[in-house]
Amino acid sequence: MTSVGKTMFPLANGIKNITAMKARYDQLQTQLASGEKASTLAEMGSDRYFDLALRQRMARMDGYQQSISTVNLRLEVLDTVMSRLDTIESDARAAAISGGGGTSGINFQTTPTLAGSRFDEVLTLLNTDAAGRYMFGGNRTDSRPVANSSEVMNGVGARAGFKQVAGERKLADLGADHLGRLDITRATDTVTLGEENTVFGMKLSGITTTSANIAVTAPGGGPPPALTVQFGTPLPTAGDKVQVSFTLPDGTEEQIVLVATSGTPGDGEFQIGADADATAASFETALSGSVQELAETTLVSASAYAAAENFFNGQGAQVMRVDGPPFDSATGLIAGTSANTMLWYTGEDSADPRSTVTARVGEGTTVGYGVQANEAGFINLIQTLAAVAVQDFPDSDPTSEKRYSSMMSRNAARLADTKDNQPGSLAAITVELGLAQSTTGAIAERHTAHSAQLGNMLEQIEAAPTETIAMEILALKTRLEASYQTTALLSQLSLVNYMR
């Protein structure tokens, strides 16, 4: 550090130059060995700021690339699960052949069992995790979004499972008298069909007749509303029809047609009696029989689907169950709590599931790839499978066949391909995830290209060009050798050496 020379025989300037050359020689050797132009901040000179900016940019791009590879892994897992779910859906759709009881009702036994195992698989798939991260619970990725299937079906302790809830719903829809919560009364020549004051059971939606002699009034009055059928003179003639329409709990429509006959009435027939009162009495009996049959078959199926819709709640909905006991006279639904009902889904509940999980994959580019098990497509499949899975169709039960065919027709309608266009369907989710994947793919390519460019630029700034350095070393070596030689020669040239 000291600038004042205090050594004996201070170095001559020539020697100082040689020292400087030697230092430069060492520096060049370091550059050649490290391949870097500068070894300190100061040596970098005017490139410093540019270098910093490049490094920062590349570090950021590295971060994006890492995010992209993580996201791609997750998207692949999602894709696998989604295609498996799609297969399950089409299998379930294929199994739903209305009226196809098979030889000695073989399908009666296998269909619910198969539905049960598909249900089990669907719930398991929805609990898929990628490296400990659950994929189908929106941003609640740290816990299983869906309870396990046997617990959902059978409940745990005081918490009721779907079987119990569906059973309660069945009781509530059928009513104690199995008339689907309808009341049938007669006063002389008039038969009144009225709803009970309840949300359960069948609802009257209309009545028509082909006879001018039967006076029908459309469902009205109340609440609860009622419809009437009045017979008078002249009496209806044989073949006259009365058609009553019902809305079932799952929203489907069913009709009962009663035909007037002069002989002994069979199924769906009423006898034209001696007078209006007698005819009305026969009509009452026939109506009652038909309603009960409808209730014990189709209504039971519809009830199962309604129970499934209430139990497997969708986005923003609560789990609803029959407010009871008593169930067969229950009038309304009540929200199930986690204390008394098995809540099947415990993940995030957002109206926009895709945005619950996002990844920044580029400057200003974010991809959303969150999926919630309570999106429409998933719950439609789950509800359908669950409704079928809780059924049993014993051969001994005369209602089995009709129940089976009404189950299957609903099953087919719910799983129809046309549903794919609806938002939140499995197909729609798959497409949206596919879009995210193609976005990340395109951006990853861009990053790779950009990174390479930046890397080149950094290389140009930082890398020491080997050829230039080698040349400089060569030149320096020559100069250094020449200087050594000259210095050595000059040191010999002293008068002292020539004195005697």
């Binding site: 550090m1 000291t2 600038s3 004042v4 020379g5 205090k6 050594t7 004996m8 025989f9 201070p10 001559a12 300037n13 100082k16 500068a38 070894s39 300190t40 901040l41 100061a42 040596e43 970098m44 000179g45 410093r48 700021y49 270098d51 910093l52 900016a53 490094r55 920062q56 570090a59 950021r60 590295d62 971060g63 994006y64 890492q66 995010s67 993580t70 996201v71 490296a131 400990g132 991260r133 619970g137 929106g138 941003n139 609640r140 990725t141 740290d142 995030e348 619950t356 999980v357 996002t358 990844a359 920044r360 002293s494 008068l495 002292v496 004195m499």
Partner: protein
């Protein structure tokens, strides 16, 4: 005229030759002695009673006063540049080359990447742990750099103290040399030796400080600094250095002795006058000035820049920005915002156009009213106003209205809400935005901002101006919040029930790092505008590295130039003062011949005398 004359002439020639040989041998012997000036003997032919004979004249010593003055000045310069270069070189080595392990930019880039990874997988324990570790690396890098810089300052203090001791010794020696030179009875050889010693001492002293040297006729010198403070005139002044003990970032020079946190360098003149060399800015060059400048400026700047980085990275994590709600009243438009969460040191910002020019005003909450008034323009071009918030929103409104004058109307509509309206009808002012930047006050109070980086005792960093200001020395205190180290789920959960997959908190932090712009404060007494930083956290880091690199590069190249100048001068000195052995040898031969000739003359005289006697 006679033989005796010839004999005495020859004798005088031999005596002169003898003396010249003495001097010559002295020259040859000291050819390598540093600070030795070549001597020579002049020969005079004297007229005797009846003869002329040779007699040695004055012993002269090679000396060139103007060259010496130039040299003295140059050594001071090179003392200054070499001490600056060597310390600043160390500073830039501390900061490290970009991209190397331990450099602040690598630590920050790694932190940012880890943040992105956690934002993609907030539920991964490993990712979160990695983020905490990266955050700790950022904090510890800042701590390390900060403590390294302070230990450099400490080293400078020690060096100053050592220098003062040696300066005092040299001054005392010089005082003694002066006294002896003033003695006329001293023989010429000792005189030349004393002068060599004098010049060596002056040379040493001039390396320490910039001197003006007056050479007197009797060979004594008097010394003054270039700024005119007498250091030696017959009697020497005494330098003294009072060390301030351990230095921290907050220990800074102040003209007020009671406040100044650094060592005090002063001089006591023989007349008993004490002068503070730093306060009076007496030293302009030389090692002492270089050291003082490093201690009080360059290293302080480096610390300021680190503090700025620490403050900005802490604030990017902990700041919640709340946009004001738009309000319309008649023709005028404006915004209102709640000031309840604005903590000491926090701010609200509004933008408006006046006559078409867009203006930004940042209003700081300053609880320590001794710091007021605060009103300056920051590195990003925004006007910064400090206000006392103790009077609630109404107090803020009236103070702000006073500062702003007309154009905008500031009011308190209700509670702690502040409203700023433009003039509406005439349209010369238009409000564009109003927002608060507040420091989150808890880790799980539902706000997305969180104090990942904290001050000592896990205290939130709010950038308060109280006392010396929280920012000062923050780089040496910054650490990762202990609660987050203990439970890294807090990186994600902004409420007790936030799902672990939630990305909101991390996304806000990332966008703050990308978009939030910070700017250096008023600059604690620094006049150098180029050292002020402004921009995002990454910008601040790049600017700091670039600045430090530049400063070091400039100092190093400056020093190289100075050393070359000095080398050229030294060469001149060498040729003027140095002993050329060849030249001395040639003279030796001449002297030898002259001696032999004189001897020959004597022997001829002898022969002649003999012949004469035999007659």
């Amino acid at each position: 005229m006679g033989l005796s004359v010839t004999l005495s002439n020859a004798l005088s020639g031999m005596r002169v030759g003898q003396n010249a040989l003495d001097t010559l041998s002295n020259n040859v012997a000291n050819a390598g002695t540093p600070g030795y000036h070549r001597r020579s003997v002049s020969v005079i032919d004297s007229l005797g009673v009846n003869s002329t004979y040779a007699r040695e004249g004055q012993l002269s010593r090679a000396f060139n006063q103007s060259l010496q003055a130039h040299y003295t000045r140059s050594t001071a310069e090179s003392g200054f540049t070499s001490v600056q270069a060597s310390f600043l070189d160390r500073v830039q080595t501390l900061f490290g080359k970009p991209g190397t392990v331990g450099s602040i930019d690598s630590a920050y880039n790694a932190f940012e990447s880890s943040l992105a990874a956690v934002a993609t997988s907030p539920d991964s324990y490993a990712n979160r742990a990695d983020l905490v570790q990266k955050a700790q690396t950022v904090a510890s890098t800042l701590n390390r750099l900060s403590s390294d810089i302070q230990s450099l300052r400490q080293e400078i203090e020690a060096k100053l103290s050592n220098s003062v001791d040696s300066i005092n010794n040299q001054l005392q020696s010089l005082e003694k040399v002066n006294l002896r030179l003033a003695d006329q009875g001293i023989d010429t050889t000792s005189r030349a030796t004393l002068m060599d010693q004098r010049d060596r001492l002056v040379e040493d002293l001039s390396q320490q400080m910039d001197l003006r040297v007056s050479y007197r006729g009797d060979g004594t010198v008097s010394l003054m600094t270039r700024s005119g403070v007498g250091i030696l005139d017959v009697k020497a002044s005494v330098f003294s250095y009072e060390s301030a003990g351990a230095l921290s970032a907050a220990s800074r020079f102040s003209p007020n002795d009671a406040v100044s946190g650094v060592g005090k360098l002063s001089i006591m003149t023989p007349a008993g006058l004490e002068i503070d060399l730093v306060k009076q800015n007496v030293l302009q060059s030389g090692e002492l000035a270089g050291l003082i400048q490093l201690r009080d400026q360059q290293l302080v700047q480096a610390q300021d820049q680190l503090d700025e980085i620490a403050a900005s990275v802490a604030q990017a994590m902990s700041t919640n920005v709340t946009q004001g709600a738009q309000v319309t009243s008649g023709p005028s438009n404006g915004y209102e915002v709640d000031l309840a969460d604005v903590r000491n040191g926090n701010e609200f910002t509004f933008k408006y156009t006046q006559g078409g020019a867009e203006k930004t005003v940042r209003v700081l909450r300053v609880d320590d009213t001794t710091k007021l008034p605060v009103d300056y323009v920051d590195a990003n071009g925004a006007r910064v106003i400090g206000l006392d918030f103790s009077g609630g929103a109404a107090g803020v409104a009236s103070q702000l209205q006073n500062r702003l004058g007309g154009g905008l109307t500031v009011s308190k509509p209700t509670g702690s809400t502040l409203r700023i309206m433009d003039d509406g009808v005439s349209g010369t002012t238009d409000m564009l935005s109003l927002s608060t930047r507040t420091t989150s006050s808890g880790l799980q109070n539902g706000t997305l901002g969180f104090s990942l980086f904290v001050d000592t005792n896990n205290a939130d960093f709010t950038n308060s101006l109280d006392g010396v200001g929280q920012k000062l020395g923050f780089a040496s205190r910054i650490s990762v919040n202990a609660s987050i180290v203990a439970d890294n789920k807090l990186l994600v959960q902004y409420t007790g029930t936030t799902p672990l997959g939630d990305q909101d908190r991390l996304n806000q932090v990332i966008s703050n790092l990308d978009d939030m712009r910070f700017s250096g404060g008023q600059g604690s007494g620094l006049s150098d505008a180029s050292s002020r930083l402004g921009g995002t956290v990454a910008d601040l880091i790049s600017q700091t590295l670039n600045y430090q690199g530049n400063v070091a590069e400039a100092a190093i190249s400056n020093n190289e130039t100075q050393q070359q100048t000095l080398a050229a001068l030294t060469q001149r000195l060498d040729s003027e003062y140095g002993v050329d052995v060849d030249e001395e040898m040639a003279r030796l031969m001449e002297l030898q011949n002259a001696f032999a000739a004189n001897a020959r003359v004597m022997s001829v005289v002898q022969e002649l005398m003999d012949s004469l006697m035999q007659l």
